[in-house]
Symmetry: C2
Subunit: 519 residues, 2 copies
């Protein structure tokens, strides 16, 4: 693990961070940087427990098999010695084969978007936070909840660019439904690549969309095809159709990414009690089987391809069948997923999830639990880190700001505590003495500006002041802040040649009709 800090020099990162500090005045925030987890991970299972989950996952792959709904994928696996019976989609593979393939994957991955100063590391002690991805609806306190549209889509991207705690976009922050489905991916990715300079994701939704996305990322960064393939520049996240099934579009997109050396996160959709067993151990075994079987395929496609273990296991409400997030079970499932990812030496993706309908106390305790799960378990890739509401059915502008506040606090939490003689302050205590106050002490004056984390959303005024200024609750403060940040937004610089080429590509592909819409 120690090599990771070498690959991303701290000094360089800090210097970049200061330069990138955005939106002065309105938004006082921490500089761009990836948090580095300080604490050892919380590990609910002992080694034997983890081996039991691993063994169950291997038995699922060996005895039950995973369905791969993709002829070429099955052919590749068959050639490698996996068991494929006739036309059956089911592939059975042995544990030795799986572990041999998975061992080829890198333990940490540096992904470099069009702005190299926004490079992020997935793996090791590093955390990276992503914008909410893929909800069909958006909401704010002014306009209420509405079907996704390009305006909201663009505004959420602008926020993601403005807040330094967001390291990547993990898909469309809301589905821009007013864009025609055949060319939506062209316009949507054009917006991402021009409104932000951060790491981007491509949906695995058919050959054209995937190839267009890779081409656009390449063009936006001004890279040759060879340069693009030389290192990870982007990623896709695919979900299995749990239980035990990988669908064609996901497999196809994943293999295309792997061939080009681009990262694939494989995240089974194992909701315990619905698409996975009602027991957490069972759901995690199934999650592991579905994930590793696909990762093995991708290592056959390109040995050493960058891949990540994705976890999403939560429970459903057994009274209604509704998915629940940020629950005690979710926290434990997340922590155990971290143990499993580390067992396989893979970067690991988890999420900041909740099932509330409003950015209220419930949304916050569920999100806080999800984020503490990520923090205590050292999640590398925190999907949906800001803005997710309603179990993923809505992107909330206010929740985005609330989440960013929590993300910054998490980053501040992972700063080392000094215990030097100066930190221990015995002389300052002697100087102040029993009748005194530390506010005026030299020791305080020399440090007070940077001693403590300073939040942008907390209101710490007393009740009377708070009431006199309108009794403004946190979501309303978040509402004011995101609108101010949007007003001050300026797009990140882009090479004019790259912008021209990107625009031309989108127009060419639009003229060609874009992508099929029968997915």
């Amino acid at each position: 693990m120690s090599s990771i800090s070498d690959s991303v020099p701290q000094r360089g990162r800090r210097r970049r961070g200061r330069r990138a500090a955005a939106v002065p005045g309105v938004l006082e925030q921490l500089p761009w940087a990836q948090p580095r987890y300080l604490d050892p991970p919380t590990e609910p299972l002992d080694e034997e427990g983890i081996e039991r989950v691993h063994d169950a996952a291997m038995r699922i792959c060996e005895e039950i098999g995973i369905d791969f709904l993709h002829d070429e994928a099955r052919e590749i696996l068959k050639r490698a010695g996996c068991e494929v019976r006739g036309d059956s989609p089911t592939v059975r593979m042995g544990r030795d084969f799986i572990m041999e393939q998975v061992a080829k994957a890198p333990e940490t991955i540096t992904l470099t978007p069009r702005n190299p100063e926004r490079a992020v590391v997935f793996g090791g002690p590093w955390a990276a936070f992503g914008l909410v991805a893929s909800p069909p609806n958006a909401s704010d306190l002014d306009g209420g909840r509405r079907i996704g549209n390009r305006k909201d889509y663009q505004d959420l991207l602008k926020l993601a660019q403005s807040f330094n705690c967001i390291h990547f976009t993990g898909g469309y922050p809301v589905e821009p439904v007013d864009l025609h489905a055949s060319t939506r991916h062209l316009d949507a990715l054009f917006d991402i690549l021009t409104l932000t300079d951060k790491l981007v994701h491509a949906y695995s939704l058919g050959i054209e969309r995937v190839e267009d996305a890779m081409e656009m990322v390449r063009i936006a960064a001004g890279l040759t095809a060879e340069e693009f393939d030389a290192a990870p520049r982007m990623f896709t996240n695919i979900n299995s159709s749990s239980p035990l099934k990988h669908d064609w579009p996901m497999l196809d997109g994943a293999m295309r990414h792997a061939r080009h050396n681009q990262l694939v996160i494989v995240t089974p959709f194992t909701l315990s009690g619905a698409m996975a067993p009602v027991t957490l151990a069972g759901a995690l075994a199934q999650q592991t089987a579905e994930c590793l079987a696909c990762l093995a395929l991708l290592q056959l496609v390109r040995p050493g391809a960058p891949v990540a273990y994705g976890s999403f296991t939560s429970n459903v409400d057994m009274k209604s069948g509704a998915p629940a997030f940020g629950t005690p079970e979710y926290v434990r499932a997340t922590q155990i997923s971290g143990q499993l990812a580390r067992r396989y030496r893979l970067p690991w993706r988890a999420s900041n999830a909740n099932a509330a309908n409003y950015p209220d106390a419930q949304a916050t305790w569920e999100s806080a639990a999800s984020l503490w799960a990520c923090s205590t378990a050292r999640a590398n890739i925190v999907y949906h880190a800001a803005g997710w509401l309603e179990g993923g059915l809505c992107a909330s502008f206010e929740k985005f700001v609330i989440d960013c506040e929590m993300l910054q606090q998490l980053a501040a939490y992972h700063q080392p505590i000094g215990v030097s003689e100066e930190d221990l302050a015995v002389d300052a205590i002697r100087e102040v003495g029993p009748a005194g106050h530390f506010l005026g002490a030299d020791h305080t004056q020399a440090r007070y500006k940077t001693a403590f984390y300073s939040p942008f959303l907390s209101d710490w005024s007393n009740f009377e002041t708070w009431e006199e200024s309108g009794s403004v609750e946190a979501p309303r403060r978040a509402n004011r802040l995101f609108k101010q940040v949007l007003e001050e937004y300026t797009p990140p610089p882009m090479d004019s040649g790259a912008l021209e080429a990107l625009t031309a590509f989108v127009e060419k592909r639009r003229a060609e009709g874009g992508a099929p819409t029968d997915f």
Copy 2:
């Protein structure tokens, strides 16, 4: 640590828990039980770091000294060899002396209130949660914020009795200002002892109040004086007047408790940047010095007296000087306090604190951070666990319910995860197969009722349903719930002889004029 589970047999605790499950119908909750932390503690400092904080604390006690504003206390310390110069309140004591005295204190303490089934253990892997204590104001959504009064005071006690996740009261949940100060402690403690049967606290606010409180706890439990002294039945929490000072009432009450074998928690009020150094290490060194110096005194008063290390270190907002809670600094200070308490083999008190003015997202992220601090650091005594708002200036009825929901989730989180063959569910996965769903599986049907934690406050319905039913946010749901619980409240049974004697004692002391009000 393993002996602790022996001293509080799990089977007995569970059985009691089922019997104690309260308010059927309105409030579906977990049975009465103390959570037992599963995870090893998060320890921000390494052993050397902790020794450096310890060494600084010892230097403060040795070189600077702590003021003890109590003649008898200074006399006791002087007789034991501590340095007291003339009339100076300052006492200097050596580290060997301090460590020798502190080593006499018990590592875990069982406290038995008038209902022995409500006994709680402070120490080891056990958590105990207390009702919010000592705010001057109360609020709910209906009546807004008001000065504390007996009605609110009683209602909060009724809630504390009704919610199984509350293990003790840590003082008055709100100050009943409409009770005359001279007899307030009599009426207030009468209410606590009759409306609840849980562990109670007495304020160290003068001889009469302390002696009256101990007498009332003794009478309510139907104990002789000898029986009362035989084991801890109650406790007091005292704060130092940081920096470096213990005031007379606190010291006097603490010594009276110690003499009667009742627990004393010593909690320095070390807000970093105000009453303590701006550096966390300095504030924690000062906290430790102030605490241990007093604990040493109490061990002289009664060797082996039950005492606890109290931590409250947080930071102030350096822009306004306002106290802040649930901050990254608060979490780290709390975790390091846990390390220090374990170093001294003492039960440890922390808090669920926040500085918000409304039970909104801010109140929740700050409280969630405080509770995760307690959980990751294995806090034994969680003060203000439910109901605290405004940095302790207000008891919120809605926040009480929200906190109880978080407390229950924390308890559920500390349940072991099974990895038996049945838990791993490979056969169930085989049976369901790639086209299936687990909801109808035998494996699910046999477990679904108890598989997952079931919250009482979360609304997991979809947005449309939530909107149709009035878009009820979490605080409003909490408001409905606490009123229903109050409607169904029934007081815990009490021996009629004890009630009569308690009533007579209160009347006698009222006739005598109660306690002086010149404190």
